[in-house]
């Protein structure tokens, strides 16, 4: 699954650690999602969308689409 997490984070000048704190996850999780090594669960995807005030589909996209 592709995502725009890194771009959105960079736009806000947040570090991975700051975003991890916002999402209540570890920095490793933020990094793994950003690099596409790990696809987040639906609750975490919703949380990410809430933090960035975007819709889930504006952040995450199916690799095949």
């Amino acid at each position: 699954m592709k995502n725009r997490l890194k771009v959105l984070r960079a736009e806000r000048n947040w570090t991975q650690a700051q975003l991890a704190l916002e999402l209540d996850v570890t920095r490793q999780t933020v990094n793994a999602v950003e690099t596409g090594k790990y696809d987040p669960s639906l609750p975490l995807a919703f949380k990410i969308a809430r933090v960035f005030e975007q819709r889930i589909e504006d952040i995450f996209a199916d690799e095949t689409s």
Partner: protein
């Protein structure tokens, strides 16, 4: 249960402290109980009390397991995945070592004590954690 401190949430750190305290309690309890039975047997009245003292480390171990389960349950989803994967590997190796070594004993291999079977499982659990950390680095 091992995790890099920089890769833990404040909740993970709290849960790990709780786990470490119970683990320390279990270790002390086990050693005190064993020392009591070995060197001061006279201090322990025979009968039910002996069994209760002997069972004390098991009771404390229940809290160790509970605190570990809580850590895994409350860890963030990626850490939980890494932990569960490592636990599955460690458990599998321990279970099949226990189950299969009997055949080797029949073939002439030396009999092992129960705690010897845990060593490969613990090693594989540790390797599983390291692999998870590397996989999602």
């Amino acid at each position: 249960m091992t995790a890099d401190a920089s890769e833990m949430t404040p909740r993970d750190r709290r849960n790990q402290r709780r786990y470490a305290l119970w683990m320390l309690g279990w270790f002390i309890c086990l050693n005190v109980t064993q020392a009591l039975f070995r060197f001061r047997r006279g201090l322990v009245p025979p009968g039910v009390i002996t069994w209760l003292v002997g069972a004390l480390p098991v009771v404390v171990a229940a809290f160790v397991i509970w605190s570990w389960a809580r850590y895994v349950r409350e860890a963030d989803e990626l850490q939980r995945r890494i932990q569960l994967n490592a636990l599955a590997l460690g458990f599998g190796v321990t279970f099949f070592s226990l189950a299969s070594y009997g055949a080797l004993v029949s073939a002439g291999a030396p009999k092992l004590e129960a705690n010897h079977y845990m060593a490969p499982g613990l090693c594989v659990y540790g390797l599983g954690l390291l692999y998870g950390k590397w996989q999602y680095r």
